[in-house]
Amino acid sequence: MGERMLLTGNHAAAHGARLSRVQVISAYPITPQTTIVEELSEMVASGRLQAKFLTVESEHSAMAACVGAAAAGARTYTATSGQGLALMHEMLHWAVGARLPVVLSNVTRAMAPGWSIWSEQTDFLSQRDVGWLMLFAENVQEAQDFVIWLYRVAEQVYLPGMVAMDAFILSHTSEPLIVHDQDRVDAYLPPFRPLYDLDPAEPRAYGGLVNRDHYYEMRFKMYENMERAGPLLAEAGREFGEVLGFPYAPVEPYMIDDADYVLVSAGAMTSNVRFAVRLLRERGIKVGLLRLVAFRPFPFEEVRRYLGGRAKVAVLDRNMSPGHSGIFAQEIRAALSQGAPPTDVYGYVLGIGGRDIRVETVVEAVEDLLARDHPERCLFVGVKGLPIGPVRPDAEVRPLEPLEAEASG
């Protein structure tokens, strides 16, 4: 039944990789990911994990090494954060196009400048359109388990997967968890048996030039398999419960059945949101929570089922897409635009750059939600000196001299 231990999210992620019996690890250190790769280095050095560890010179190379190793048939893992994930971006595309089930843990971190090592989801969500399976862990148990869950799905659909775990709030906070027994994980996750492994006896070329007769179909098949990943993820989540005792699902509703108002969140902040929901319920406010566990493939059905027709939906985004809104808010609106009963979606941005999202912060946002009578695209919570509200229309810019209508003379 596993061993109850007290571990940080980062050490838990390392155990997730170990229990998955990864064969090649390649990584580059970045705060706050470092203790994942330190732990894995010790596991490899001590022989607890039979793997090769390539200590490469950049995150771009870390992903390139994973791509190469996965193409040659190894189960591969890496971990990164913020700038590192951004630097990997090109090779994230490569892993998808080459159809390689690499798994990575990303400790979500605010992007520079200014330098910030604190929690924010924008680094992770900037990889939205690459084609990786994307999950948000909320606690230390999930930081471990989602790595294993992802391999089970990724290796069926030949698509890579990444787990988001909040900087420090999850990466460096110790919580009790069950570290599973290896034989139970082995029962859940069979060895990686790739279709192709760069075998000189079958000399094919991989990833080369394709003309317009083939590329579209390759991408179409990739898209199809991502669609298949949705039900497979749900199924593998149920099986995780059966085999390892922790059932997982693409979304997690909480006190939602009779809720007029539903909050949407993802990642570690959800724990405080859940607490706030309980407090608000005590005040008689019919509020509930829908936690997004899976971001890609996006749980359209569940979102429509749980959110459609509610009086108000408030999406809590620890991220933003300038010129639009919080990224989850965009996604929720898009999901609700297809066949769901009319639902007003209020976008709230909060916790940018690791600013605390306290229970009170969430309560304030809900109080703001109750007071509003029409939905706002993007409301900022906790900007110093400002009440909760949209951006200021008179924000400072540097105007140029007015253009002259016609050259004089």
Binding site: V24, K52, T55, V56, T76, L198, P203, A205, G208, L209
Partner: protein, 309 residues
């Protein structure tokens, strides 16, 4: 003299190389030395095209195409997987000068520093030929390219990639060219027999980019060697230098330059031509000194060369 070149081919007849492509010749010879238990890793370069468009594939060994800057590290990843699986397959990264001297040098330096067990071959045609002849840091001084036009030809000397690789103290680095196939095969065979990072720097003629007739491709690569512009040598463990070929009657560098339209600006600027010739001499002397330090008994040094000192 009997050359020991295997008759077997690891490349099918027919590929998308241009007429006289040095890179295509080099691949053919390299694979003859490495044999069928080989995986080739190809970043963006002419060879991304030469191997053929899906589903056509010119090589008889697996090819893994990878991003421009990742040849060395993708090869390292493949080798790591092969190691874990207990397979002894040779993994060769096969990149152009852009993918080696410029965008790929970070991953290459990383792999060399870690002494990854890969062969890295750079077929160097001295510019971004695949994109239409733009300068790279391998482009020699005085060269015309589309980004160093006649009015402002390349002003800096070619980056010395061999010194950079030798500075990593890798077990083996060597220069070669398919115009000297016996020498090239010997070096690839030697590379295959060594463990660790092995670097092969191949001068690789590009008739369209060098602005010269394709039927003079072999001749021009031989002129590069004979004029000492591209000396053939080996460096072991970063320190032990051995010259592979001593031109018996060195030809003046102008003879190498003149065949190629890309060096046209040199002949409009006699002072620069003289500077470049002096540079060629100086680089040659440095190599000869290093060879002497490695071989204090002067073994292999021809009498003429010894007298010149």
């Amino acid at each position: 003299m009997k050359w020991d070149i295997p008759l077997g081919e690891e490349i099918h007849p027919g590929n998308l190389g241009c007429q006289g492509c040095g890179g295509a010749l080099a691949m053919r010879l390299a694979l003859k030395a490495l044999g069928p238990d080989t995986v080739a890793v190809i970043p963006a370069c002419c060879w991304s095209i030469i191997d053929g468009a899906f589903p056509v594939h010119a090589l008889k060994v697996p090819v893994f195409h990878t991003a421009f800057e990742t040849a060395a590290v993708a090869a390292s990843g493949i080798k790591a997987a092969k190691d874990v699986q207990g397979k002894a397959t040779t993994v060769i990264a096969w990149a152009g000068d852009g993918g080696t001297f410029d965008i790929g040098i970070q991953a290459l330096s990383g792999a060399a520093e870690r002494n990854e067990d890969i062969i890295y071959a750079c077929y160097d045609n001295e510019a971004y030929m695949n994109t239409g002849i733009q300068r790279s840091s391998s482009t020699p001084s005085g060269t015309w390219t589309t980004t160093t036009p006649d009015e402002r030809p390349e002003s800096r000397p070619k980056k010395n990639i061999m010194e950079i690789m030798a500075a990593h103290r890798i077990p083996y680095a060597a220069t070669c060219t398919p115009a000297y196939p016996d020498d090239m095969l010997r070096k690839f065979r030697k590379a295959k027999s060594i463990k660790g990072t092995r670097f092969l720097h191949i001068l690789s003629v590009c008739p369209p980019g060098w602005k010269m007739p394709s039927d003079r491709a072999i001749e021009v690569m031989r002129l590069a060697v004979q004029s000492r512009v591209f000396p053939l040598y080996e460096v072991e463990d970063g320190l032990a230098y051995t010259m592979s070929l001593w031109p018996t009657e060195p030809v003046p560098p102008e003879d190498y330059f003149r065949v190629q339209g890309r060096f046209r600006p040199l002949f409009e600027d006699p002072a620069r031509l003289e500077r470049i010739k002096a540079f060629v001499d100086q680089q040659w002397e440095i190599l000869v000194r290093r060879h002497r330090r490695t071989h204090p008994d002067e073994a292999g040094i021809p009498a003429g060369e010894a007298a010149a000192r």
